[in-house]
């Protein structure tokens, strides 16, 4: 670890601290329908959208109607994405003449993946998707799945803030305002910033370059014979990347235009573009803590939650940075020490321009949030370095978190923390003036239980059957980690992977597809039920027995609840995967 590495990490956290308030105030204004400086441009577009779609913007919804609208929209837009992939051969903006995305289970998996804000990718973008599918299918879903998440978080916050009311807002209005006010303006500016760094943005066919030095390449054919060919050309994949890149991070989607995601020089060409992308990932999640404080009238509570997130972030990045900087002791006769001329450490799967610090930081940030973009392959991380992203997802990605999803995930933990505190002092737990009762805790537990259920059941099935184990690239305990990571990433709607696992198979496409849908919708529904239930409750003024949710004690308790729930659930699986691999690596064992 170096001083410069830590400066980069702390500057990043500092920027997130600075953006929290302006972003939070802005979102609170947008969703309370107060005036903002963008209204003159955006309000006419908003009105037009309502007119053509028939939305009554003054209609208020109960939680059930809110949930049904959200589900209907998800189903319809998911179907459209499926069809778009299957029909892309007939659609425009396809200079590489890609045919339909096949097989069907891949198209299903991808449709589920982008609808649920996961962006799990069982395909390689530059070899599969036309520019039209990327823009109007995948990048489009980056917008609306993120906007849906923000809408849901705002609905939950309204549930806390409102008193004796039956409704929690209008899904369509929240969706449209998320898209127009929060996402779109930032993306136009951010995309151009990324282009200025070298992220490509064009609709041209792939370029052909004549290699400076032709290369002899040996390939082994299906018949086992080795053929030597001379390669004289390099095909350079192009595309409308920047417009997708920025919403991929800002909406914590994570689906790369190219297979190598943000490790690809055309997606993430410079250290500055890397910082812009990292910043975009956390901006909304951090801002929502301030929005929470503002809309519920307890700004200090918002900051208490922010602090818990920041502490967990620092813990993760410290472990990841330390582990990756330590390098791989099995690689003899290599120089892995950090010097002025190199960042050393474990460089397999990492890019030179990012080095160790930025790769460890990116891996931590992308899994703290439910982003899932990568700038280095987690599968090639050291056992403990790779365990950090895995654990982050297992903690439900509440560390600044996915846009919206991180906030409502965190609020579920807050409900549990308040409940546990209530048990300890023997009083009915209260949260910001609302009594937390059996119904709320039951629903919160449902959210907490669905998650490990899908992960552990599918991981277990996959690790003892040929259809699961035959996809493993890295044998030994690392193989279990690959499977565990896949389902954890799916259920957490993260989308990053231990990429060695071959996942475009009927088994994995289908089960991970279902895992993503369960991880998204089976958690949203109980969450909305809590919101609806809280909204109709009476306000109870704080008394001596109320556990304050604005203090450092609360922050510590919240962190404790998150870690204990996560550890109790997943420690056995982790000990057979990355922890075992770490011990065996130290003993010099290979597979």
């Amino acid at each position: 670890m170096t001083v410069n590495g830590w400066i980069q990490i702390l500057v990043f956290l500092g920027l997130i601290f600075l953006v929290t308030k302006p972003m939070g105030v802005f979102m609170a204004r947008v969703f309370s329908r107060e005036k903002t400086f963008m209204d003159p441009v955006l309000r006419p577009i908003e009105r037009l959208l309502y007119r053509v779609t028939g939305v009554d913007e003054n209609h208020e919804m109960r939680w059930t109607e809110y949930a049904v609208s959200m589900l209907l929209f998800s189903v319809v837009s998911m179907l459209v994405l499926y069809l778009m992939q299957r029909l892309q051969g007939f659609l425009p903006f396809n200079p590489q003449k890609f045919g339909a995305v096949t097989p069907e289970h891949l198209a299903f998996n991808t449709a589920a993946s982008f609808t649920t804000n996961t962006n799990w990718q069982a395909y390689a973008g530059e070899a599969t998707m036309s520019y039209f599918t990327q823009m109007a299918g995948l990048a489009y879903h980056n917008f609306v799945s993120a906007a849906t998440g923000i809408a849901l978080a705002i609905a939950f916050i309204r549930g806390i803030a409102r008193r004796q009311m039956q409704t929690i807002g209008n899904f369509w209005v929240d969706l449209v305002r998320s898209c127009l006010w929060v996402l779109l303006p930032f993306c136009v500016v951010g995309a151009l910033l990324l282009v200025s760094q070298g992220v490509v943005q064009n609709l041209r066919p792939y370029d052909k370059a004549t290699l400076v030095q032709p290369q002899q390449v040996q390939t082994t054919g299906a018949d086992g014979k080795t053929v030597t060919t001379t390669v004289t050309e390099q095909t350079i994949a192009q595309g409308p990347v920047a417009s997708q890149e920025i919403i991929k991070e800002f909406g914590t989607n994570g689906g790369g235009f190219f297979n190598a995601n943000s490790a690809h020089p055309f997606e993430n060409p410079t250290p500055l573009s890397n910082l812009i992308e990292l910043f975009a990932i956390f901006t909304i999640g951090a801002g929502l803590t301030y929005t929470l404080g503002r809309m519920t009238g307890s700004q200090r509570h918002g900051w208490a939650v922010w602090t818990a997130m920041a502490i967990l972030f620092l813990a993760g990045v410290t472990v990841a940075y330390w582990a990756e900087a330590g390098g791989n002791p099995l690689l003899a006769n290599t120089n892995q020490r950090v010097t002025a001329l190199q960042s050393g450490g474990n460089m397999e799967g990492k890019e030179v321009r990012f080095g160790i610090a930025n790769s460890a930081l990116f891996a931590t940030v992308t899994t703290d949030a439910s982003c899932g973009a990568i700038n280095g392959w987690h599968d090639s991380f050291t056992p403990l370095g790779g365990m950090v992203p895995l654990v982050n997802i297992m903690l439900s990605e509440v560390i600044f978190g996915g846009v919206g999803a991180g906030m409502y995930g965190m609020l579920i933990y807050v409900v549990l923390a308040v409940f546990i505190a209530g048990l300890m002092v023997g009083r009915t737990p209260e949260y910001l003036g609302k009594k937390i009762e059996a119904y709320d805790v039951k629903m919160a537990m449902l959210v907490v239980l669905v998650f490990p259920l899908v992960i552990l059941v599918f991981t277990a099935l996959s690790s003892v059957n040929g259809f699961g184990t035959s996809s493993i690239l890295n044998p030994g305990p690392h193989g279990l980690s690959e499977i565990l990571y896949a389902f954890t990433s799916g259920a957490g709607n993260n989308g990053s992977a231990f990429g060695g696992l071959t996942v475009n198979t009927p088994w994995y496409d289908t089960t991970i597809g279902l895992t993503m849908l369960a991880g998204r919708f089976l958690m949203i529904i109980p969450m909305l039920a809590i919101a609806g239930n809280l909204a109709q409750k009476k306000y109870v003024p704080p008394s001596l027995g109320t556990f304050p949710v604005t203090t450092p004690l609360f922050t510590v308790l919240l962190i404790g609840v998150i870690l204990i729930v996560g550890a109790l659930t997943f420690f056995p699986a982790l000990s057979l995967g990355p922890i075992l691999e770490h011990l065996l690596l130290a003993a010099g064992r290979t597979f």
């Binding site: 209907l72 530059e126 917008f143 192009q238 250290p271 120089n335 010097t339 056992p383 690239l473």
Partner: protein, 196 residues
Amino acid sequence: MKKNLMISVLMTIATTILLGIIYPLVVTGLAQVFFKDKANGQLIVRDGQVVGSRIIGQAFTGPAYFHSRPSAAGSGYDAANSNGSQLGPTNQHLIDRVKADVAAAQMDNPGQPVPIDLVTASGSGLDPDITPAAAEFQVPRVAKERGASADDVERLVQEHTQQRQLGFLGEPRVNVLELNLELDQRFPLKKQAKAE
């Protein structure tokens, strides 16, 4: 329910047009006007021929060029098939591959430990850079092969070393394609492998 279903369909269509078509096309237009070269991939043209992108790596072998990192993109530096090796830290294939690459690299510098980036595959398989350490390591070999003094080649490496962005972001790096192109100009090979 029926009303909301209708809205779902119309909303999907309307927002797809706005966010899925108009937005990327507007960004494309702006990018092409303000950052034409960058938006098109910073292609390098020599004698009317595209020889690569400034920010996409290429494979270099043999003693006369600075080598780039091992690549797992397609058959190596395939810029239409980006990928890393995905090999885990305890995978014997990784250990063996690194061992072979280390042995080859040490032929030029016997006994010297090899800078780690020179024997590890990058994330994209298209990493345009090597570390200054990896460039230094190769200076004696390249200088000898090109009949140039080590000092001259060393100076070239330093000219091509990009420092941290804004003084603190990222890591120092050397762009291999640009360095090798300049090498060909300043210290041309008598019998160019390129002539074949």
